[in-house]
């Protein structure tokens, strides 16, 4: 990377913007593919995106990215300018997508701080070859265009030749530009453009500064030479040239009239055709039309452009942390032990107001962090496209509810699982065309991505109308691998389907390129569980499979019931609690193994003594002295026995220290939180406790 631009904000911005553009580009390509061709809008957009990436990456000295994007830019420049008829659109899409992948890869490496050493020369070769082919296949058009420049004037001379004799002085100027200032020919052109105000009698060399980019080289080596006559003094002319930007050196000398004539003559004989500059029409914009556009469009863009700012996620994380601290601090003040037993009417009033505002702040901060799932969903188009091509299956992707929002942190965690599920659906779910027709299904398979809100959770579903899961096959497989211990008829459908989430399970004997590469559904399940979510598998043979990911809206703050066991306090997420009750001794059943259960309304539920489980000393060991909390998750229930309930409160979830999480492997804990009195409360992971 460059020494000049190694500062982080620039790099961050580069990575952020390039990734966004690349994603946008991918969507354009996929959309164009559906329309079977690139319309002019798409071509323009792709050109612009590639142009931007080329510029930014060149600034950051990522030359490989810059050359790749340049090659694509060239192709689309050609498409835009020449509008050729014979385009191999599918090959072009493939090529652009290949380039997209390359750039994505490089950006990922840059992000990870790795070396970007992947050589794109092969890709660039293919791109250039493609452009060359495109040009030759559409020769008739491009030739016409190419011939045009030849007609353009090669040599500019003053229209008013008679006036030349009246000028007092004759000069020769040789101008050298700074090294690396680029576009020397255009810079030379600027001088000629300006000198017209001073004289109408001038000649310059090299002559073809406009049409021939190679004239840059000549100017670099030999300088840009101008011969001219004028009434201005040497000092005035010197000052005129000194204004030139990126001027490295100027040689200005006064000439004799004869010398000038000689030069003028030789130059003139060299040029067959002399064209007059001022006769060339200069485009004058139509006033009315354009201004109308400005007014019409500016209204729309002004609103959209100013109402958004981008903020780094770390700042939002900080804000979230602070709000969390504030919620805790608020509890510390309002529930302060010093206040107990006091009558504080005014204080209570103020406290309620404070509580209301903190709740509102919390909601707002939360909503700031919410991101729509649409970007994540749209990414799946690419996967569906690639897979259906490779596997030769016709698959359509349907997206429902992509506006549904979840916390930014959670989005990052579900992107990979989602990708895996979509791959699975196409690879294992959707049948090949023949098989589908034999089953009287539509030849084209459908994969549906759906998202919706359900209370404090978001449900993300991947549905397919494929062959569905075969219960007995799954059971047999699990049995062979020693993953089940129950009989098949003792298990519910859902329990059997859930076996595919168990580590070490994979039904397909031959592992295809896309899915089942060792990382299977168990990894998906683990990913989702890591953000406090769960997976539900539903399927009907020959009808299809629905895999639902249940994900919490946010991780940071939950409603919790604070309970007490001995001297410790625990928090149970209110959302999992069904009820709490004081049991009657006669409802308790003990089975021969000594396991305790309780009958509630004719149903039998297992009991978990929390003090036994975490080995806490407490005086409350008899069921009649304490209280039961019935919790439920995934349609399974458990009664937790605790000493007493302390109250309900919003708590800020903090991650458990690594020591407890990884080394001690203490089960059943989702995290911890600080209570109002400053003590620590452990948050129970209900799902895990039920599975025990």
């Amino acid at each position: 990377m460059s020494g000049t631009y190694s500062n982080e904000p620039m790099l961050d911005m580069f990575i952020f913007e390039t990734s966004q553009l690349i994603e946008q580009l991918e969507q354009i390509i996929l959309a164009s593919e559906k329309e079977t061709g690139f319309n002019s809008h798409a071509i323009n957009d792709i050109f612009r995106i590639m142009h931007t990436i080329k510029g930014s990456s060149a600034m950051m000295m990522f030359n490989d990215i810059s050359t790749v994007s340049h090659a694509i830019e060239d192709i689309f420049y050609f498409l835009r300018e020449e509008n050729p008829e014979n385009i191999d659109c599918s090959k072009l899409s493939d090529l652009v997508l290949e380039a997209v992948d390359y750039i994505k890869d490089e950006v990922d490496k840059i992000k990870a701080g790795e070396d970007t050493s992947n050589n794109p020369s092969e890709l660039i070769e293919t791109l250039k070859e493609f452009l060359a082919n495109l040009k030759s296949e559409n020769k008739s058009i491009s030739l016409e265009i190419k011939e045009q420049p030849k007609e353009k004037p090669q040599y500019y001379i003053s229209p008013d030749k008679t006036a030349s004799n009246n000028y007092k002085h004759t000069y020769k100027a040789v101008i050298y530009f700074d090294e690396g200032c680029e576009m020397e020919n255009i810079r030379a052109y600027t001088i000629i453009h300006n000198i017209k105000d001073i004289t109408s009698d001038y000649h310059f060399f090299p002559m073809d500064i406009i049409d021939n980019d190679e004239s840059c080289e000549v100017i670099r080596k030999e300088g840009f030479q101008i011969y001219f006559k004028t009434d201005k003094s040497y000092e005035e002319m010197h000052e005129f040239f000194m204004q030139t930007i990126f001027l490295r050196d100027l040689e200005l000398t006064e000439l004799e009239d004869d010398e000038y004539k000689k030069i003028a003559e030789t130059k003139e004989t060299e040029v067959e055709e002399i064209k007059v500059l001022s006769s060339e029409p200069i485009k004058v914009p139509k006033l009315d039309d354009e201004e109308k556009i400005v007014i019409d469009k500016s209204r729309q863009t002004a609103i959209s452009s100013q109402s958004f700012i981008s903020v780094s996620v770390t700042k939002l994380d900080q804000l979230m942390d602070l709000v969390g601290e504030m919620v805790v601090a608020e509890a510390m003040v309002i529930q302060n032990p010093d206040l107990q037993g006091l009558e504080l009417d005014n204080f209570q009033k103020a406290a309620r107001q404070l509580n209301k505002i903190t709740n509102e702040i919390q909601d707002v901060v939360m909503s700031i962090r919410m991101v729509a799932l649409s970007a994540t969903f749209l990414k799946m188009h690419r996967i569906v496209r690639d897979m259906s091509r490779k596997l030769n299956k016709e698959v359509e992707l349907e997206i429902i509810g992509e506006d549904t929002e979840v916390d930014k942190n959670i989005i990052e965690h579900i992107s990979d699982p989602l990708m895996h599920l979509v791959r699975n659906a196409i690879d294992h779910g959707i049948e090949p065309r023949k098989e589908r027709l034999a089953k009287a299904k539509e030849a084209k398979g459908t994969v549906t991505l759906e998202a919706k809100n359900a209370g404090n959770d978001v449900l993300v579903m991947v549905k397919d109308d494929g062959r569905g899961l075969d219960k007995s096959k799954i059971y047999k497989k699990a049995k062979e691998k020693g993953l089940v211990f129950k009989n098949e008829d003792e298990m519910t459908d859902r329990e059997i389907f859930n076996l595919i989430l168990v580590p070490g399970f994979s039904t397909k004997a031959n592992v295809s390129e896309f899915s089942g590469r060792g990382v299977g559904m168990d990894v998906v399940a683990r990913n989702i569980e890591s953000v406090g979510g769960s997976i539900i598998v539903d399927s009907q043979l020959d009808k299809g499979t629905i895999i639902t990911m249940k994900i919490p809206l946010t991780l940071a703050i939950i409603d919790g019931m604070i309970i007490k066991v001995g001297k410790s306090s625990y928090t149970i997420p209110t959302i999992s609690i069904k009820e709490s009750f004081r049991p009657k001794q006669e409802d308790i059943i003990t089975d021969p193994d000594g396991r305790e259960m309780i009958m509630v309304r004719g149903q039998c539920y297992p009991i978990l003594r929390l003090h036994n489980f975490y080995k806490i000393h407490t005086d409350v060991t008899s069921f009649t002295d304490g209280i039961f909390i019935m919790v439920e998750e995934d349609e399974k229930s458990l009664c937790i026995f605790v000493d007493e309930l302390l109250g309900q409160q919003q708590v800020v979830v903090k991650a458990l220290p690594n020591y407890i999480q990884k080394y001690r492997k203490i089960k059943g804990l989702a995290g911890c939180t600080l209570l109002g009195d400053g003590s620590i409360s452990l948050i129970l992971d209900v799902g895990e406790l039920i599975k025990l």
Partner: protein, 120 residues
């Protein structure tokens, strides 16, 4: 302190130019991401100079240049161009752009061009 308006559709480029300017005691009075915004901001802010990208959505730099110059014939507009855009730079210069910078650029180049244009 001279007041500059930066126009570029790439946020990265705007940042790059902003950094270069702020390091050298210029005031960046505004940023615009397309030609239309550029025209609006120019009229609203009346900056001492504008750096204007050529390839943009909504309205290209060249069109924006024309409209800006119509509203203020003395506007000091510097085009930000890339290699391969010679023809467009030339068109911009004919239409009244004061100078141009070629991407990728160095900070010193931006400052040099700006100083010279501002002295004009």
């Amino acid at each position: 302190m001279k007041r500059i308006l930066i126009v570029d559709d790439a946020a990265f480029m705007r940042l790059a130019i902003r950094k270069a300017l702020e390091k050298n005691n210029f005031e960046v009075v505004g940023e615009a991401a397309n030609g239309l915004e550029a025209v609006k901001k120019y009229i609203e802010l009346k900056p001492d100079a504008v750096t204007l990208d050529i390839t943009m959505e909504e309205m290209t730099g060249i069109d924006a240049l024309r409209v800006i110059l119509r509203s203020d014939p003395n506007a000091k507009v510097i085009m930000i161009s890339a290699m391969g855009q010679e023809a467009m730079v030339r068109e911009a210069l004919i239409n009244g752009a004061k100078s141009f910078i070629v991407k990728p650029f160095k900070d010193e180049q931006v400052i040099k061009v700006l100083n010279q244009v501002l002295e004009m």
